[in-house]
């Protein structure tokens, strides 16, 4: 009888556990952003959110929370083109698509494709190129849909460990996949990847999962263990503490980027590629830090 009782208790727990697993509550992302431009200009520039040549957006719609980062390729400055114009317009267009509901949460690549197409529809003859990373949380299905093109990326951290992350896409060392619009006549000479080349993943998230989306300025200067250490300090899900953690991560990466003696992940990778490089990698840094929380209006 006793064994039946204890067995029954186990069954009951399992059933209750199962019930709470298939939770019908909606999730949402609480997101804060922080970043630094390469040339020490900090904060928000222009109308959208731009840090140096990086751009990002945070947007929400009825069914989903969407965020994205883009890293404008700086080489265009030599042609007299402002690299942030391309990445900034790309992100602003993504934001509009989301706000107007012209997207399917399970198709983040579609957001990139449509947005890139819209850039070509602009009267302004845009030039430039950019990497891009889009993260969409479907509120109801609790699934995280992502698209990543190039070397920006995201981490999903659960219980202090990285449980899911993006893959870096590079043609060769320090040359990521990129969306681009080339000047006429130079189409062959400029690297240009189709938005369909973006790497797309889906992942089930739980309450309390931390999602860090950032440009290569962060990942090139801070190894995972340092990022995780900073994330440990995050105790609750209110916006202020997320904002504070995002700032401290961005600040630390910014300091490391200008440390000539620090062996950064970038320098490590360069050494692996036969280049003798030391120190951080001075770059624009954009950090979007989000926590999966219960959805409230």
């Amino acid at each position: 009888m006793l064994s039946v009782l204890s067995y029954g208790r186990l069954v009951a727990r399992a059933v209750i556990g199962g019930l709470s697993q298939t939770d019908s509550r909606d999730y949402s992302l609480v997101t804060a952003s922080c970043g630094f431009g390469k040339d020490f200009r900090r904060g928000i520039l222009k109308k959208g959110m731009c840090y140096g040549d990086d751009a990002c957006f945070i947007a929400r719609h009825r069914s989903a929370d969407v965020l994205g980062v883009a890293d404008g390729v700086g080489g265009w400055r030599d042609y007299g083109v402002d690299p942030s114009q391309f990445s900034g317009t790309l992100m602003k267009t993504c934001e509009r698509l989301v706000k107007e509901g012209r997207f399917v949460p399970s198709n983040p690549v579609g957001v990139l494709t449509t947005s890139y197409y819209e850039l070509l529809q602009n009267k302004v003859p845009l030039l430039g190129s950019s990497t891009a990373c889009i993260v969409i949380l479907d509120r109801q299905s609790h699934r995280l849909h992502t698209a990543n093109l190039g070397d920006s990326g995201f981490l999903v951290v659960r219980g202090g460990e990285v449980v899911h992350r993006s893959d870096e896409q590079q043609h060769y060392f320090n040359t990521p996949f990129q969306l681009s619009i080339a000047p006429p006549g130079a189409e062959g000479a400029v690297l240009s990847d189709s938005p369909d080349a973006a790497d797309s993943t889906s992942f089930d998230v739980q309450l309390g999962d931390i999602i860090l989306t950032a440009t290569d300025g962060l990942f090139d200067n801070m190894p995972d263990y340092m990022i995780l250490q900073e994330l440990k300090k995050l105790k609750n899900t209110n916006y202020e503490s997320i904002q504070q953690t995002a700032r401290s991560i961005a600040e630390q990466a910014h300091v490391l980027a200008y440390d000539p003696n620090y062996m950064s992940p970038f320098a490590q990778f360069a050494c692996d590629n036969g280049l003798n490089v030391r120190g951080g990698k001075p770059d624009d840094i954009t950090v979007l830090l989000s926590i999966v929380a219960e959805y409230t209006d």
Partner: protein, 612 residues
């Protein structure tokens, strides 16, 4: 066993309690909302942005994009209070009088009433029907185009088919010329109406503006309950008011059909002494409703007013809001000599049907030469079949923005072999239909295939045009997806008479293939060339145009980085007839250059748009 049972009971309890709390929370929230509603006075004003764009006559943007399209007018403002040329706004296809100056433009219809200025329209649906108290339009670039705001009694979001659709003018005015392109919030004083509405229609006329007008958002303010003031207000009696002449137009000829026998008196005073032709001439200056009213005044004038010679041209577009099968039926007997008919914008929401339309066309189609049917959503395949059977002599057909017409319907057009002008802007015509039209209608002079997204290969169409329609004079390929240098080269080699060519937003044309220079050399009569947003247009193209096309009047090279001020100057010097030159977003041409060139060539309108 008992424990198992109790455990199930326990589980059920937990589930119930959980759902219970959720349910309670929901109902309590509902209670709060309804409580608020009850407390609020009934005359509280609701403010809403447009929910959906339902219909429009034209737009600058592409059909499968959101930049510069009419769909941007739904929702909150994207640009306001900034001013400038932004992608997030709603932009119409034309501005100014440039398009009307072209040979491809239709002749204006006689008897168009003085107060009818509308050239384009857009219809907007809102969430909740209200008695409107104010309408606000956010105009963010070159404001002043709005000439009329109307409200409809039909709720576009109900499933019920529209019955007794009424339109009331909330406000109307003349087109204005605002000299600065600065953004403004346009909120005219509107008339109070006796029904709640959630469907507004804005009508615009951009002909006085210096550039494309851009609209950002529309607010409809109104109250849910009928305002008491409106009940006591005397209705304004206005002879030109649409609702007043409504009955007359639909009852046209009604009482006179039976009354003819009763009136035996012949004394018409001095009118009898006037020559028949003179009275006809006087009557030819009247608008259509006036003509119908006059027909009811006396027997003599009735006879004059019903003379088919008064109805060789008939524009029913100004009366779109109240034209029905019945009114067409009444006009039918007088229109036997009809040559030009304008039914644009008419017949929507069930006002015209296949029966009414086909009976009119059978009676009056024989001598018809020109038929304008822009935005006629009542059209279906059967209607086009009727047109092709009843109008053997048709030379002009305009079906622009009939975007609900099935692709199959267009095959009937190829039976109209006398066609000279065909406008298929924003229709779903497909490759096979256009090829068969081009094969059989070899007299085509003017063809508009702008924004026809269903055509798969424009190169094939272009080469067919080159072999069949050698007298083609104007061709509009605005926003065609895939015309390449191959098709363009064949086209200009075959159609040497081309005077107008619109290749705006054709991204697949590459200047490096030399196609634009070949175009300039092949078409010495060229008067209008639009190469809008072709990023590859360069100095050598402009120089070739300057050398080979002395008759050039309109040129648009918006959005190229490779054209310099020097080549533009050369062009302006060698094309003395040039009146329009759009160099917006050409990065080498800054405001200073534009001012300098405008000073040197004062007869040319040099356009330079800006975003900030």
């Amino acid at each position: 066993m008992l424990t198992l049972l109790s455990m199930f009971y326990y589980i059920c309890l937990r589930r119930r309690s959980r759902s219970g709390t959720r349910g309670e929370a929901l109902t309590s929230r509902r209670a709060v909302e309804s409580g608020q509603r009850a407390v609020l006075p009934v005359s509280v004003e609701v403010e809403q942005y447009a929910k959906e764009v339902l219909d429009f006559s034209s737009h600058y943007g592409s059909e499968n994009s959101m930049s510069y399209t009419m769909w941007n007018l739904a929702g909150v403002p994207n640009v306001y209070p900034s001013s400038g040329d932004f992608t997030q706004t709603a932009v119409f296809r034309t501005y100014g009088t440039w398009w009307e100056q072209c040979a491809s433009a239709p002749l204006p219809f006689r008897r168009t009433p003085k107060g009818f200025y509308s050239k384009d329209y857009i219809e907007l649906g809102f969430e909740e029907p209200v008695y409107p108290t104010a309408v606000e339009v956010f105009e963010t670039y070159y404001p002043g185009a709005i000439v009329q705001i109307l409200a409809c009694s039909h709720n576009p979001f109900t499933q019920n088919p529209p019955t007794d659709v009424r339109w009331e003018v909330l406000w109307s005015g003349e087109p204005t010329k605002v000299l600065t392109p600065q953004a403004r919030q346009f909120s005219p004083k509107i008339k109070h109406i006796g029904f709640p509405t959630n469907l507004l229609r804005l009508e615009v006329n951009s002909s006085l503006l210096d550039y494309y007008t851009e609209l950002d958002a529309v607010i409809l303010r109104g109250v849910k309950e009928r305002p008491m003031l409106a009940l006591y207000k005397m209705p304004i009696i206005d002879i030109s008011d649409l609702s007043d002449s409504e009955e007359e137009l639909s009852d046209v000829g009604g009482p006179f059909r039976q009354g003819d026998g009763k009136h035996q008196r012949t004394g018409n005073g001095y009118f009898d002494k006037l020559p028949y032709e003179l009275i006809q001439l006087i009557l030819s200056h009247l608008t259509l409703p006036d003509l119908c009213r006059l027909a009811q005044s006396c027997k003599l004038l009735h006879q004059h007013c019903c003379d088919p010679l008064q109805y060789t041209q008939l524009s029913l577009q100004p009366y779109w809001a109240r034209l029905s099968d019945a009114s067409l039926g009444h006009l039918q007997s007088r229109c036997t000599l009809l040559q030009r008919l304008n039914l644009s914008w008419t017949g929507n929401r069930g006002a015209l049907t296949l029966t009414g339309f086909s009976s009119f066309m059978k009676a009056c189609g024989l001598s018809l030469v020109c038929l304008e049917m822009s935005c006629c959503h009542f059209l279906n395949e059967a209607c086009l079949e009727v047109i092709s059977q009843t109008c053997p002599g048709l030379q002009e057909l305009n079906l622009s923005s009939c975007d609900r017409l099935h692709p199959q319907a267009f095959t009937h057009i190829s039976k109209l072999t006398r066609l000279r002008r065909l406008v298929l802007y924003r229709t779903k015509i497909e490759q096979t239909a256009i090829l068969s039209i081009v094969t059989f209608c070899i007299e085509l002079r003017h063809l508009n295939l702008g924004s026809c997204v269903r055509i798969e290969d424009y190169d094939v169409v272009a080469s067919m045009l080159a072999t069949r329609c050698r007298s083609l004079c104007s061709l509009d390929l605005w926003r065609c997806r895939n015309l390449t240098d191959r098709g363009l080269t064949e086209l200009v080699s075959g159609c040497r008479m081309l005077e107008e060519l619109d290749l705006g937003w054709c991204p697949t044309l590459q200047s490096s293939t030399g196609c634009f220079q070949h175009l300039a050399r092949s078409l010495p009569r060229l008067r209008k060339l639009f190469l809008t947003a072709n990023r590859t247009v360069c100095d050598s193209d402009i120089e070739e145009l300057a050398a080979s096309c002395p008759c050039l009047r309109h040129l648009d090279i918006l959005g190229t980085r490779s054209v310099s001020a020097a080549s533009l100057k050369k062009l302006l010097q060698s094309c003395p007839q040039l009146v329009l030159l759009d160099v917006s977003f050409c990065s080498q041409i800054d405001m200073r250059v534009v001012q300098e060139l405008s000073g040197l060539f004062p007869n040319v309108a040099i356009k330079k748009s800006f975003t900030q």
